[in-house]
Symmetry: C2
Subunit: 332 residues, 2 copies
DNA sequence: ATGAAAGCGCTAACAA
DNA sequence: TTGTTAGCGCTTTCAT
């Protein structure tokens, strides 16, 4: 059962050479053709796999990427993860994944775990206010943020979608349809979108129509339902994420608000079900997978370049959840 | 920038003790109260984190769990991953995640990567025919399958949903509604469901109504559309996964088949959008998160117990996508 | 109760 | 071109 692992020493002995030679051959160093041949043969025969543990310890690095996501269950983050995985794999780097639940404490704990593992590169959708990232920086861990910026951590490069542009497009579209009372239903950690919303709406902004939920589904649903009930005069909503969009649809149905007749809805993030929904949802699509891929590229490239971050475009995809104001809701 | 990592030696010196003592204190060994106190203080002062690399190398293990999933983007697998992550975290184990894309070759490659990392426990939704798993077994890596069994690998414990029961329930429900021409739209690696379907349908089974798509969305859509076009006489479909269900809805719409008037649909896996769909989809819910959690428990417990696998119950959730036969499709 | 020392598997200096 | 050797940070006998 417990077959001892084949080590470099075994290979060296079997091939009748020194361990250094084996190491050299396997990492493409110089060696005579015949020696190389022999070592390679023996290695495959013995099914030898160099231990990353030994190598990393020696090289004082782990050669692993840490990936911290709020919720791996959310397709958006799933796509981000997919991008990271794809890039990491082409570089032969393992990825250690952790789910923070958008909780700074949990995040800090996970950071500690990654540090312990000796991970030397981290990609994260940051949850805290940025203080939690001091340890990684101090430990010299190359860090890149994805999808979100972190307040007070402008020193860490980030790969994000053009939230401001997306929000502006959405608001323009809605106001163009004649809407004036537009609500924003947001989630945690989206300062960009929030401020962009205020800015895009300008004088039309109504602070009461801005609601920010915590991460959970319940919280989101409560926020949506509360908003709709409290302000039946609103005619359009911008949901800042697929979870928010989902609960908005649910809450609207519960309150007998017809979309788009009574309520126009635009959702951030294009998910497969947006098309299946009735009506199909108009969305601001974000290149989730690219975000992950680019973040991985950045983190792998190391601190060399200075691209202080990447901004990826968003796209308005018009489907059926927005209508011109006019067939407005019955005057309660 | 490149602050050398604090090592056990640093702590030992600072505390005026030997490294062995530090090690003992930190791993709860015997030590005099005062020594313990001093070491602990110094350790926190220096923000010392024991290197998992060093420890694992010494103990000839990595203390990491490998998790291989077909597609991290699929919410089902996302939930499985979430369960694994939760359990692993409570055990303080890091999880290295890989996406196989349901491709045996890719899977084999990833297995190699995990082995190289020295991972000593693996959880996987197996893609290949089982031969690919010889290396892990040989290397003494504790392996547990999740969600799927692998042909020819009955020696590896698996945590799966009660597919047979779920299929039976779905078929019973459908036949109870008067349906006779029931199709099965499946994906890769679901032998259980397929055979259960044949068995449940008994004499009613029509091989032409059984279609198995490859993993991709395109393939799935093509399969669904092809099925519906080729056999307009079918009145009900069982989709073997959320992706299959999604494309079934899409294809039905494209072909102007009304659900449930023209076509009744039951989907495996309850996803959030099932409720948002119109009509809301009747589903066979699977405890995805539990599958992951239990698999992690099993793999962490080690090979000690003999529970040769776990079978988790499924649940029929009736919503609006199934109707009694009668308002059948117009006799083309 | 504590320290010295060996060694996990590997790579990189240094010799030969 | 090749082998010898010294660690990387840690745990674990074995003495003390």
């Amino acid at each position: 059962m417990n077959t001892r692992r084949t080590t470099i020493k075994d290979v060296a002995e079997a091939a009748g050479v020194g361990v250094a030679t084996v190491s050299r051959v396997l990492s493409g160093g110089s060696a005579s053709p015949q020696t190389r041949e022999r070592v390679l043969t023996v290695a495959t025969q013995l099914d030898y796999r160099p231990s990353a543990l030994g190598r990393n310890l020696r090289q004082r690095r782990s050669g692993g990427i840490g990936l911290l996501l709020p919720d791996i269950t959310d397709t958006f983050y799933g796509r981000v993860a997919d991008g990271v995985l794809a890039c990491a794999r082409s570089a032969g780097e393992p990825v250690i994944v952790g789910a923070t639940g958008d909780d700074p404490e949990s995040e800090a704990e996970l950071i500690g775990m990654l540090l312990e593992q000796g991970v030397d590169r981290v990609i994260a959708v940051p949850s805290g206010d940025g203080d939690g990232w001091a340890p990684t920086l101090r430990a010299g861990v190359i860090t890149v943020f994805a999808h979100r910026l972190s307040a007070g951590r402008e020193d860490i490069p980030a790969v994000v979608a053009d939230d401001r542009g997306g929000v502006r497009t959405a608001v323009d579209y809605l106001t163009g349809l004649g809407h004036r009372r537009i609500a924003y239903l947001g989630g945690p950690g989206q300062q960009q979108r929030l401020s962009a919303f205020r800015q895009a709406l300008g004088p039309l902004v109504d602070e009461e129509l801005i609601v920010v939920a915590r991460g959970s589904r319940d919280s989101a649903y409560a926020a949506a339902a509360g908003l709709f009930q409290h302000r039946p005069d609103l005619t359009a909503v911008l949901a800042g994420g697929n979870l928010l969009g989902e609960v908005a649809v649910l809450a609207a149905r519960e309150l007998d608000l017809r979309i788009p007749r009574d309520l126009s809805l635009i959702m951030f993030d294009d998910v497969p079900w947006a098309e299946l929904c009735s009506p199909p949802l108009t969305v601001i699509a974000q290149p989730a997978r690219d975000i992950g891929y680019r973040a991985a590229e950045l983190v792998l490239r190391g601190g060399t370049r200075r691209p202080r971050g990447v901004l990826l475009p968003t796209e308005l995809i018009v489907r059926g959840s927005c209508a011109a104001r006019g067939t407005s809701r019955s005057p309660r």
